[in-house]
């Protein structure tokens, strides 16, 4: 017998020995078919307000714009203020904005080791934890939010959901099966592995800047 068969047989035997009375016919199929939500906290806050609060707590900075056309100037504002290079890589959806007018050299491709600034969109955001949800795909490189020292992310105001459960519901409904990777990102990379001292920029970005957009 294969390792797989042996292990599964041992699990069945163990559960029989332990006399588990959780065995209802179809319990597993039911749970997988329509996943129940077991317990939620109170969530007595307004999503956008809470999202912003949590972003700040996790050391992300914030900005807001009304229209996508305002994105280049918002990015420029952020880069100038923080004295960061005006050269960036982005997801294809943002390439056709007027970057040159703002003096920003923008390329649409996945990030490589030397890129300093990465601009991404986001699938949705989770207010409860101040989290960006990014799905990998042909037009949403995972490296853009990972390799550069600065990650700028655009979040649509209408897509700030309350909880991770809500994000899953959205993904199940709109996308169906999961992409290669779903990344939940909450602020810049960090570690406290040396004497519990919090340090940003362990391996991922040192900074995360969230730009909320109306449309």
């Amino acid at each position: 017998m294969s390792a797989r068969e042996n292990i599964l047989a041992r699990i069945r035997a163990a559960n029989k020995t332990a006399n588990i009375d959780d065995v209802m016919d179809g319990a597993v199929a039911d749970r997988l078919g329509s996943p129940p939500i077991s317990a939620l906290p109170k969530l007595d806050w307004e999503s956008e307000v809470h999202f912003k609060l949590r972003c700040k707590e996790s050391a992300s900075s914030l900005d807001e714009i009304a229209r996508i056309e305002e994105l280049p100037s918002a990015v420029n504002r952020y880069l100038s203020k923080n004295v960061l290079p005006n050269k960036a890589v982005c997801w294809p959806e943002f390439l056709n904005l007027s970057w040159a007018a703002e003096g920003i050299q923008m390329e649409s491709r996945g990030a490589i080791g030397d890129d300093k600034v990465g601009l991404t969109g986001s699938y949705c955001a989770v207010a409860e934890t101040g989290t960006l949800v990014l799905l990998s795909g042909p037009d949403s490189h995972a490296t853009t939010s990972l390799l550069p020292e600065t990650h700028i992310a655009v979040v649509q105001r209408s897509r700030i959901v309350k909880t991770m459960e809500d994000a899953w519901r959205l993904i199940r409904g709109e996308v169906g099966s999961l992409p290669r990777q779903v990344n939940f990102i909450s602020g810049p990379s960090r570690t406290a592995d040396i004497e519990m001292t919090l340090v940003y920029g362990a391996h991922g970005p040192f900074r995360v800047h969230v730009i909320i957009i109306d449309q």
Binding site: A27, I37, E128, A142, S177, P188, I194, V199
Partner: protein, 472 residues
């Protein structure tokens, strides 16, 4: 990993005298305990969520065969290559085979406790393949050629100065003096490895049956690198890490970061389902998952079953008065603290870790913080019962307790013996009313502290005599 739990007593005594370690443990305790308390208090229904999480874990374990089969089906549908391993050797050999089949020369690794169990790094390096740990703590430990002392903060026993010396030596660069600079030096050293490694190895915090996904939860971003940059990704996990659905995972995620690091959420939660898709510009071309069962099914069919609920947050050790003072290495295996005192004997044989279930005050500081309500003191007590049955207890302990029980079951004899003890104790205590030195088993008490002396008469003698007088 080699088991050294039988040395618990001597190692823990040495650790108590290690001044540097004591300072590090003190800092860690403060950090973990205080920050956890803060974010737990913020959830209005923490106890309800905790119960729901325990129920989900129990439900999943009760149908583990079905959920693992479903997980495998979904994973394979997404292109994941699934392997099963029944021994450490089998898992290690599978990893090396995958590496060799893919002509891998360099591996980057994100933290995995299963990998610590199997001794993976040593095995892989033995086959001429380079392995770089990338979690900062694990990287420090690997450079120092040590084992982790904590499941989420592997280098918590090392001071900043230790790390500064270590990096200066290993990196051949000027010695740095603060945590930020040291962290950034490690970033700089490791970055090229992320970019040119052929294969990435990660653990998996969970496997989601609904979608056939594996999840890793990290703060540093090394997990994302490891699952995205190399052309081959291998995730190693064990059967009990299964969760039914994405919503069950969301539930658990309210507890894991809070209990582990006192965060509302960890920085990066990365859920991987299969290798690179058509059109994807990044991600590995091949994704393998190896699922291990060493000891797990044995525990599943035993009275220790609840230990398999564990989600590896480390809260039990952070809150354990014993761990807080001796650190993780004293426990002598992969998992320290209360959960280790259960899993180590459960996976390695109770005769090989006699001290662990006994080296606990049963204060239940672990049990009340466990996010999945594992009754850790009860499980330790059950292990003590098995030790007693198998005659593994020290004869001094066994006979003194038997003598006590013999006495306590014979009230008349008991009252005479305690009367004598109360009188003798008073005499021994003298004017200071303290016994400073006792013999036999008592010397283990008075080596460290005085014994407040008995007062000369037992309560029963005083009380019964008083009542007689009153009734006369």
């Amino acid at each position: 990993m080699e088991l050294t739990s039988h040395q618990f007593k001597s190692v823990s005594s040495a650790k108590l005298k290690d001044v540097k370690l004591q300072k590090a443990l003190y800092q860690a305790k403060d950090g973990f305990v205080v920050s956890r308390a803060k974010v737990v208090a913020e959830l209005d229904n923490f106890e309800e969520i905790r119960q729901a999480a325990a129920d989900v874990r129990d439900h999943c374990l009760a149908h583990l065969d079905l959920y693992l089969e479903e997980w495998e089906k979904q994973a394979q549908a997404a292109g994941t290559i699934v392997h099963w391993a029944e021994s450490y050797e089998e898992l290690n050999a599978l990893v090396v085979k995958i590496a060799q089949d893919n002509k891998v020369k360099k591996i980057i690794k994100s933290k995995s406790m299963v990998g610590e169990e199997t001794g993976l790094n040593q095995y892989v390096e033995g086959h001429g393949i380079e392995v770089k740990e990338t979690d900062l703590g694990e990287y420090i430990i690997q450079q120092a050629d040590e084992h982790p002392s904590h499941i989420i903060a592997p280098a918590t026993h090392k001071s900043k100065d230790d790390v500064a010396d270590l990096f200066a030596e290993k990196h051949q660069r000027p010695r740095l003096d603060d945590a930020e600079k040291l962290t950034h030096e490690a970033r700089e050293i490791l970055r090229p490895h992320f970019l040119d490694a052929d294969m990435g190895i990660t653990g998996a915090n969970f496997m989601i049956a609904e979608t056939g996904s594996t999840v890793i939860v990290t703060n540093e971003g090394n997990g994302r690198m490891t699952t995205t940059m190399p052309r081959v990704h291998v995730a190693i996990s064990s059967i009990e890490k299964c969760l039914p659905t994405l919503d069950d995972f969301a539930l658990i995620m309210r507890l894991l970061p809070r209990s582990a690091t006192g965060q509302v959420i960890s920085n990066y939660v990365s859920m991987t389902t299969g290798p690179k898709r058509t059109g994807d510009k990044d991600g590995p071309g091949a994704f393998h998952v190896i699922i291990l069962d060493v000891g797990r099914t044995r525990v599943l069919g035993s009275e220790l079953r609840e230990a398999l609920r564990c989600i590896r947050c480390g809260a039990c050790m952070n809150h354990c008065p014993v761990y807080q003072n001796v650190g993780g290495h004293a426990y002598g295996w992969v998992y320290p603290g209360p959960i280790g005192s259960v899993l180590t004997p459960a996976y390695n044989g109770i005769e090989n870790a006699i001290d662990l279930p006994n080296a606990a005050t049963l204060c239940n500081q672990c049990g009340v913080v466990c996010p999945v309500k594992i009754p850790l003191p009860d499980l330790m007590r059950k292990l003590r019962e098995r030790q007693y049955e198998k005659n593994l207890k020290s004869s001094t302990e066994k006979w003194s307790l038997r003598f006590w029980a013999y006495l306590a079951l014979r009230p008349k004899l008991y009252s005479v013996v305690t009367r004598v003890m109360a009188r003798a104790g008073k005499v021994l205590g003298g004017d200071s009313r303290r016994i400073k030195r006792m013999l036999f088993a008592g010397q283990d008490w008075t080596r460290h502290r005085d014994l407040p002396a008995p007062r000369g008469r037992t309560f029963r003698d005083i009380y019964i005599n008083k009542n007689k007088t009153a009734n006369r």
